[in-house]
Symmetry: C2
Subunit: 201 residues, 2 copies
DNA sequence: TCAAAACGTTAACAAAAGATAAGGAATTTC
DNA sequence: GAAATTCCTTATCTTTTGTTAACGTTTTGA
């Protein structure tokens, strides 16, 4: 994917929240970079400050923590989703997790410094602020729903929901990552899958 | 607590994120109301649109869902914390949960209509937008940490953390609400408590 | 292309959690 | 102030989940 297409995708995403004039977009695009992220490479590493926020325009990434030497997958981002270790990015503290490309990906990046400059830009400031608010609100709602699912649903119900809402991208993800995401072990997920197979068979 | 003190508390909270001139505060305060919420009364009810966002200036509330006729507690808000059913408030859709006062409380409220007007107010607009972004980001971080705890920690570890971070307010909350909050049954929490007692004894 | 590593499933056993019920203490309600 | 309700703990039994290991398949990387 070439840089121009990638940037166009970013503009489309941005304008879902805040419309831009061509002039504003021209200004905003100066602050963006388009980066390739090869499979298995890291977008963020635990212990380092996450210095950018990005939009996945191609490919996918997974978020994971390391605990007792084990990798625990917490989340995924696919095409047309933002990615960042938000706490680290927002508070300028070392990240607790890794973000790694699941496949060869392309990310449109906005560095912390550039974001600050864009916010101080007379032409863009207000719209950046608004985009920031709406993005944070969007993910706030996503997280609220995820927490609700942990409290009110069984792992089996969560998996059934995931199968419905998650698109074809789900089939590209190893089961044990999904098991982590659901908060269970791979063995448990395998049992759930067998139960579902039996019912639908 | 009188209205003036309550409003002062709101100003203090707001200014932790965005400083205000006296003039701006005067304008902002016109949009606020101070409401008493008696114990057991509802701030939000499932099925109804949550039309306001508030700051708890006295007392506490709990958030809960009803599933299969059972109440499942998902969260609490104490003094100096915002409260709202964010998804409902932000998307103008019916809330999925209840928010109920745990004790006689006082809430400083900002209705959806007033928030919109405040955002369009020439003097306040930019600062409201910024406050909105920073508040959303703050809760985004809280939720991110909560999700991480569900994935990487055992219920026992989550409870230990809760004991450390949660203040004396914890001792005012019934155990079975806390059990829900941790994603386990009251019986399980009781067993965990016994194990901890034995170790520390 | 071939050896090594990673994956998903299954089995057997151990550990933990859920369900239910009972009992006593604390709190609420009239 | 007394009756009723709520609350926490404990015990017992059942179900679910975790752990470990094995096996065949697929994917990866040199």
């Amino acid at each position: 994917m070439d840089s121009l297409t990638a940037l166009q995708k970013f503009r489309q995403y941005f304008e879902r929240y805040v419309p831009l004039t061509d002039e504003e977009w021209l200004a905003l695009s100066q602050y963006l970079t388009v980066d390739a992220l090869k499979k298995k490479r890291f977008y963020v590493e635990a212990g380092k400050v996450c210095d950018h926020i990005g939009l996945v325009v191609k490919g996918s990434v997974r978020y994971y923590h390391v605990k007792d030497g084990e990798e625990i997958t917490g989340y995924f981002s696919f095409e047309d989703e933002m990615l960042s270790s938000y706490k680290s990015f927002l508070t300028r503290t070392p990240a607790a997790n890794y973000i790694q490309a699941l496949e060869d990906s392309v990310i449109v990046n906005l560095s912390h410094k550039n974001l600050q400059q864009a916010c101080m830009n007379e032409l863009l400031g207000f719209k950046m602020e608004r985009f920031g608010r709406l993005t944070a609100e969007h993910y706030l709602i996503c997280y609220e729903e995820r927490i609700t699912s942990f409290i009110t649903q069984s792992p089996e119900e969560r998996y059934a929901d995931l199968l419905q809402t998650g698109g074809e991208a789900l089939y590209r993800i190893p089961q044990h990552y999904i098991a982590n995401y659901l908060g269970i072990t791979p063995v448990s997920l395998s049992r759930i899958r067998r139960r579902i197979m039996k019912i639908s068979a």
